[in-house]
């Protein structure tokens, strides 16, 4: 999840909650941040594609050589690289996940997955339905634990993030509302996005301070409208264009030119469709990102972003083409470029980032996250 992860990462980053109202019991001085003008503090990313390539390729080789065991260490190393190179107000973020714990979680997840598949394969259909339902019921718990683990393993200035949403909230946000979206033939889906975003952002906290989101359902309907509009209008134009192109190829008279023209025309059309598909993704990603990150409010501190469709599209299309050409070897640069772009366009209008206080942390639980990962649940903002 190259892009997703980087967003998820900055997601962790920007759930900075507020602090201005944390009243200090021992000193009854009025809140010093009241009425203070916010200062715009940008995120800075220090990662480098070449540097990350080295880390990435060594991770891959060690993962292959150890039959996957090393992948837990690889994951921590990658996350630490991106967190540790993200700077806000002079200080960097940190990822504190323990590889051994992640490995245990990963093994458990695989055992469960095999168990689940085996049951599905051998159980009579009645039981497989039942198992499916049980599995569906367990999903929200897994999602919630994964969110919590990831938040707790993220820190800034030595203070950890946290996530307080329960599994009931996850069940509503990730099962009930999407179901509502399906039942309404997709018309309710943006509302489901809205609910998911509410679930995430009213439960993330930095230290003892909880974040809030000021989004409204309409904001997400606008995201859907942008994606739908681009996909249908662009698709129509593209289809018309490639069709005419194809017929031109047909009209060529030379017998042997026919194949070459046809092949090249087909390739060209394929390339256009590829770019088009990638751009749909970029439109969605840019609009969704802006919607979420321009609305994070932390009693005084506001997150803001200038991520745009054109800006993000340029990065995403460039990355996709270069990854194709290099057979995927461009991936580390692509991921760094993407993160760089997002962070260059992300800031906090801060009234006070200095007086956050830590909250005594709950126990670590990589199990939830790893189970979530093995079942390929997209988690993140």
């Amino acid at each position: 999840m190259s892009e997703e992860t980087s967003i998820e990462q900055t997601g962790g980053v920007s759930n900075v909650s507020n602090v201005s109202n944390v009243s200090n019991v021992s000193t009854p001085i009025p809140d010093p941040t009241l009425g203070r003008d916010p200062v715009r503090i940008p995120f800075k990313f220090h990662g480098d594609g070449g540097e990350f390539f080295r880390i990435w390729i060594v991770n891959i080789v060690l993962s292959i050589l150890t039959l996957g065991i090393y992948s837990a260490w690889a994951k921590v190393r990658t996350k630490r690289y991106f967190y540790g190179n993200t700077e806000l107000d002079g200080d960097r973020f940190d990822y504190l996940g323990d590889p051994v714990a992640i490995l245990v979680g990963r093994i458990l997840a695989i055992v469960l997955l095999v168990f689940y598949q085996a049951l599905l394969g051998f159980a009579p259909s009645f039981f497989s339905g039942l198992i499916g339902l049980l599995f569906l019921a367990a999903l929200p718990w897994v999602i919630y634990r994964a969110l919590r683990f990831n938040a707790q393993m993220s820190s800034w200035r030595g203070i950890r993030f946290g996530f307080d949403g329960g599994w009931v909230g996850a069940a509503k946000a990730y099962l009930l509302w999407p179901l509502f979206g399906l039942v309404t033939l997709g018309f309710g889906m943006p509302y489901a996005w809205f609910k998911q975003n509410q679930y995430l952002l009213s439960n993330y906290r930095f230290g003892a301070s909880t974040s809030t989101s000021t989004t409204e359902p309409n904001d997400f309907y606008l995201v859907a409208l942008a994606v739908f509009g681009f996909a249908s209008f662009g698709g129509l134009v593209l289809f018309g264009f490639t069709s005419s192109l194809g017929f031109n190829g047909m009209a060529s008279d030379g017998e042997f030119n026919f194949d070459a023209l046809f092949a090249l025309g087909g390739l060209f059309a394929g390339a256009l469709y590829f770019v088009f598909y990638v751009m749909i993704f970029a439109v969605y990603e840019a609009r969704y990102f802006s919607t979420v990150y321009n609305n994070i409010e932390i009693s005084g501190n506001y997150v803001g972003t200038s991520v745009s469709i054109v800006g993000l599209g340029r990065i995403v299309v460039g990355n996709a083409v270069l990854m194709l050409v290099t057979l995927g070897l461009y991936y580390p640069w692509a991921r760094v470029r993407m993160t760089q772009y997002l962070q260059d366009n992300l800031w906090i209008d801060a009234v006070d980032l200095d007086s956050f206080v830590a909250k005594s942390s709950d126990g670590n639980d990589p199990l939830g996250e790893e189970i979530g990962e093995a079942f390929d649940i997209g988690i993140g903002l």
């Binding site: 999840m1 190259s2 892009e3 997703e4 992860t5 220090h46 990662g47 480098d48 540097e51 390539f53 080295r54 880390i55 390729i57 060594v58 991770n59 891959i60 080789v61 060690l62 993962s63 292959i64 996957g68 992948s71 690889a74 190393r77 630490r80 690289y81 190179n85 960097r92 200035r157 030595g158 203070i159 996909a231 698709g235 289809f239 490639t242 069709s243 194809g246 047909m250 017998e255 042997f256 026919f258 194949d259 070459a260 046809f262 390739l267 059309a269 590829f274 088009f276 749909i280 993704f281 990603e285 996709a320 990854m323 194709l324 200095d354 007086s355 956050f356 206080v357 830590a358 997209g378």
Partner: protein
């Protein structure tokens, strides 16, 4: 005495303080603002390097010091003399030779795995799949195909006669006839349970043995579980790449699907060959000449050369469904576009991917031919015919 610069975090409030850490054999002193902290130098632990990031120094306490990556830091680590596994990994990352070897090794591994490992795994898995999976697969694919297909215009007697003739010589669970505007002469295997013939194909010849030859080719796909194997191959490929790269999603997934697509085309060509072999074997055992299959390929080719325009619009259609369908994550198990190409048919020769046998020496044609071959799910038709003719002579 080593002096390190960096930032000190007290672990309680969020602000970092510019600080220095002086380390000697006997003591370590951390100084920031107007304060200083005494630390037992033996308890110091320096985390392994990660790029050029500041490195955290801890001493079994909630507070820590993030040291700028400097030469002094490297010296300190040398003098402490403790080295973790991660220090070793960081060492690997710094060596150019290791990086080059790792890159080449990874490419070779993925190539080798793609060529040998994935088909083997998929084959083994296909044979332990429950029968219900194949039936379900065929049903859902046919439902989707039926959006573009009409009911057969063949008479009921003709359908029943062909059904009886084909199935008595090699059974599948379901054999359907469909009228397909634009697809022309074609036959599909949807899974081990189901084969579909188009009216256009049936009307192409009066010789039922020629149709039987095509049926045997499809039966070969069905018996050898080619559709099931193709699907499992994409699953296996996706699983392995996900394990290797850690997390892939969005556009990354799309890009990783490209070698898969090319790989699928190669697997698929192999499957065509196997299905031809199967058909030849069956025909011979019935005393029918394998040349019937070659003759049918000729007819199909001829029929398609008149209708290239139709075929173009179809292949574009398929492409567009493919690109929207693959937006969801993970391998597509029930993608009609995929199934259609994997689902393997005798007659894709007309899909515009046909070779031009008349001028093999032309360079441009050679280029486009190898390009086509790379992308094509079928071996070149002339080669197939040559192969079938050679097999026919073997009698």
């Amino acid at each position: 005495m080593t002096v390190l610069t960096g930032t000190y975090y007290d672990g309680e409030s969020s602000r970092g303080h510019a600080a220095t850490l002086q380390v000697s054999r006997l003591q370590a002193v951390l100084a920031y603002a107007d304060q200083s902290i005494q630390i037992d130098p033996n308890s110091l632990e320096v985390e392994a390097a990660l790029g050029r990031m500041p490195r955290k120094i801890t001493w079994q306490s909630n507070d820590f010091f993030a040291a700028d990556a400097t030469i002094e830091l490297d010296q300190l680590i040398g003098s402490i003399g403790r080295s973790s596994m991660m220090d070793w990994v960081a060492g690997l990352e710094k060596r150019g030779g290791v990086i080059i070897a790792a890159t080449l090794g990874t490419l070779l591994f993925i190539l080798g795995f793609g060529i040998y490992g994935v088909p083997k795994i998929a084959e083994a898995a296909a044979y332990i799949l429950p029968q219900g999976f194949s039936a379900q697969l065929a049903t859902s694919t046919l439902e989707k195909l039926d959006f573009g297909l009409d009911e057969s215009a063949l008479s009921d007697e003709r359908q029943a006669q062909l059904q009886a003739y084909f199935l008595s010589r090699g059974a599948v669970d379901e054999l359907y006839f469909r009228h397909a505007q634009g697809v022309g002469a074609n036959a599909f295997t949807l899974s081990q349970t189901t084969v579909v013939f188009t009216d256009g194909l049936v009307q192409l010849t009066d010789d039922d043995d020629e149709l039987l030859a095509v049926y045997f080719h499809e039966l070969g796909h069905a018996r050898l579980l080619h559709v099931e194997r193709s699907i499992l191959q994409s699953v296996a490929w996706a699983a392995v790449l996900t394990m290797i790269t850690g997390d892939v999603g969005g556009v990354g997934e799309l890009v990783l699907a490209l070698p898969l697509t090319l790989g699928q085309a190669a697997y698929s060509r192999k499957h065509e060959r196997e299905a031809d072999e199967f058909a030849i074997g069956e025909l011979k055992s019935l005393g029918i000449s394998p040349l019937k299959l070659a003759a049918m390929l000729d007819r199909i080719e001829a029929s398609h050369s008149f209708s290239h325009e139709d075929d173009l619009s179809i292949s574009l259609d398929l492409k567009s469904t493919e690109s929207t369908e693959s937006t969801s994550t993970g391998p597509q198990v029930e993608d009609p576009a995929n199934e259609d190409s994997q689902g393997a048919d005798v007659s894709n020769a007309g899909e515009g991917l046909a070779e031009n046998p008349n001028d093999p020496k032309d360079e441009e044609s050679n280029f486009s031919r190898s390009l086509l071959e790379l992308l094509s799910s079928h071996p070149i038709t002339s080669e197939r015919k040559a192969y079938i003719r050679a097999a026919a002579k073997d009698n």
